[in-house]
């Protein structure tokens, strides 16, 4: 059976189309979010700023954690976590909420979870100036290792893709996958060093704790963006391998289930 394709001019064009489509859908998401608001894109800075103020107040004054430069410290964790949880939640509902696109001949449905991951990355990138400001105010300068940030962001994107595809596919059949995800993200938040330092975790559970790839990723973020250290390579390589395998498996799972989507929406 030959499946209908949009183009007969080969794989290169198909790939270019996917890329362009991804970009266009991400642009739409980002543009729509702030359209018709007076402050527009400023909101993407204001939200994190308020969170930053609250967390900094709570964990330096109310429950002091004794972490140096806490404001940029927590802000890094906050940005990365907001991306992680937002992307997972949006991706889970991305296919079930786009019945019209799923039923369109030739539409590459697998692009939808990727759009969710990318859109939330854009929001993180838009908030980066605030991070830079926080780091500069706290430490008096920006470490040179900051340039490694894009690499770490790519790793997180890779790590997100696998779960995004699987959860999106499952949510088409069982709508409460999205609620389950919402519930599970709550404990996930606490086993990830978002507002505390991973070193504070008791050594008795540290082995299990460090199985969470986000622990290493978040430490690496803080190394390059705040402490001016090059991160440990071993865990990052492991994340790349695990993330890559998960992405491939997730995509396989998604494409295997995709022919059923039109019937189930």
């Amino acid at each position: 059976m030959t499946s209908p394709r949009l183009s007969s001019t080969g794989r290169a064009r198909t790939n270019r189309h996917r890329r362009d489509l991804l970009a266009a859908l991400v642009t739409r998401d980002v543009a729509l979010r702030y359209r018709r608001s007076i402050l527009g894109l400023l909101w993407s800075q204001l939200g994190p700023l308020v969170m930053l103020a609250v967390l900094t107040f709570v964990f330096t004054r109310v429950v002091p954690l004794d972490i140096a430069d806490y404001a940029p410290f927590v802000f890094i964790g906050l940005l990365a976590w907001t991306w992680w949880s937002g992307a997972i939640l949006t991706a889970t509902a991305s296919v079930s909420g786009a019945a019209d696109l799923v039923r369109r001949p030739g539409f590459p449905v697998a692009v939808l979870p990727a759009v969710a991951v990318t859109s939330h990355l854009i929001h993180l990138v838009l908030a980066l100036p605030v991070l830079v400001l926080a780091v500069v105010l706290a430490t008096g300068g920006l470490p040179a290792t900051f340039v490694a940030l894009p690499l770490l962001l790519s790793l997180q994107a890779l790590l997100l893709l696998g779960p995004a595809w699987v959860l999106a596919a499952l949510n088409v059949r069982y709508r409460d996958v999205q609620h389950l995800v919402g519930v599970l993200l709550f404990p996930f938040f606490y086993v990830t060093p978002v507002f505390y330092d991973a070193g504070a975790v008791p050594s008795s559970v540290r082995g299990a704790y460090r199985l969470n790839p986000l622990v290493h990723l978040f430490e690496a973020y803080r190394d390059v963006a705040l402490y001016g250290r090059w991160p440990a390579l071993g865990p990052l390589l492991a994340i790349a391998v695990v993330g890559g395998l998960a992405a491939v498996a997730g995509h396989r799972c998604f494409t295997a289930l995709a022919p059923r989507f039109p019937d189930e929406l």
């Binding site: 394709r5 489509l21 543009a31 696109l101 039923r103 369109r104 001949p105 996958v177």
Partner: protein, 459 residues
Amino acid sequence: MSSDRLVASLRGVGKRFPVHHQPPARSLKEAALGGFRELRQRRWQWALRDVDLDVAAGTSLGLIGHNGAGKSCLLRLMGGVGHPTTGTVDVGGKVGALLELGTGFHPELTGRESALLALLIAGCTRREAQDLLPSVAAFAELEAHLDQPLRTYSSGMAARLAFAVATSTEPDLLLVDEVLAVGDLAFQQRCLARIEEHRHRGATVVLVSHDPALVAHTCEEVAWLDHGRLVTQGPTARVLAAYVEANETAARAATPADLAPVLSTQGRPLVPGVNRVGSQEAQIDAVHLLDGWGRPATEVPAGGAVTVEVALSVSDDVGGACLGVRIVRAADRLACVDTSTPVHPGDGEVRMELERLDLAPGAYDVVVGLFDPSWASTFDHHEHAYPLLVVGDGPHAALLAPPLRWVRPCPARAGRVTSGEPATPSTPPPAAERPGPERGGPARAAGPSWPAGGGGRGR
């Protein structure tokens, strides 16, 4: 493009969907509580069964059938959306689809953004989309509104934009679902013209419709689906005739047995099951034919104005209906005028005003029908009940008598009859001197009709 080459070939295609007596398990909890019973013992309903269909390159195929006959399902499978449960679907070439209007549209996006996004969704790369944008805007006649958000568009404007996008990509196979019904008449005409352009380019068109008239106009070949099975596929005229006849039989069967015969507003008997058929869920109460001056008339001058005034009862339960008015030639039932309009509950009276009826003098019959909004079933249909006589002189043998005149620009030749010409009187009276029967219209065919028109104007 060789007509032997197949663009689509379907073999033994079946598609089934689960039917649930209770709402299906939409959650893991429900599925678990049910012991995943639902996963094992599902009841299935076949939307399509054993369909063999070939679509040759360059043809236009119409898919007709009632609601739920599987037309849209078949169209989707041809578009590669989902897999058939049984059989194979082979489709070659670039597929363009007009299944749902406005995919990817969002009220806050501007027309330009929407069009670009929709083009990308339709399979274009960004560069191709940008190249196509001017022609899309031109076809949709929205150049001036391109940077306005879509929420400021009327539904007609949005539909034009969606159609322009869908047909701008030069597909090899264009799949068109029942979307043309949304727009106004002018929009439909433009869409049909656009589909025609694609046909001339060599594209293959598969069109789903309930409307036999649309299919007759657009398609060379028709496949008729009934309850998921292919009844027949063949030349349009043959299949449509069979389809229309089956519909009439069904409408006759649906006519309530206790409906009493009545006289039409023109005194003709309306006998249930004979010349009045339909379920009577909505009814045609009265039909008045009016001439150009608004007076009740059974005869009108050729080229004159006619108004068909229909009094209806469409209840809220029905929700809406389609009113069709057709003028057929009495002798051979040839449809000369065929038009329809949606009607809504509470529309007590609807008028079809025909500015000029340029039909040759003779006996005609006004046929009025009320159908459900998808044209799937007949509510009330009156035939042989409203005769209309078109009077005047003119070429009786022909169908049309449009305004025309003979001109002799060179007086020297005026008296000569060339050998190839029929024996027309050589000097017809100047057309402009004879007042036409219509109100202020241009002068009509003035000469006595040949060969035996009776001469003179007869009034």
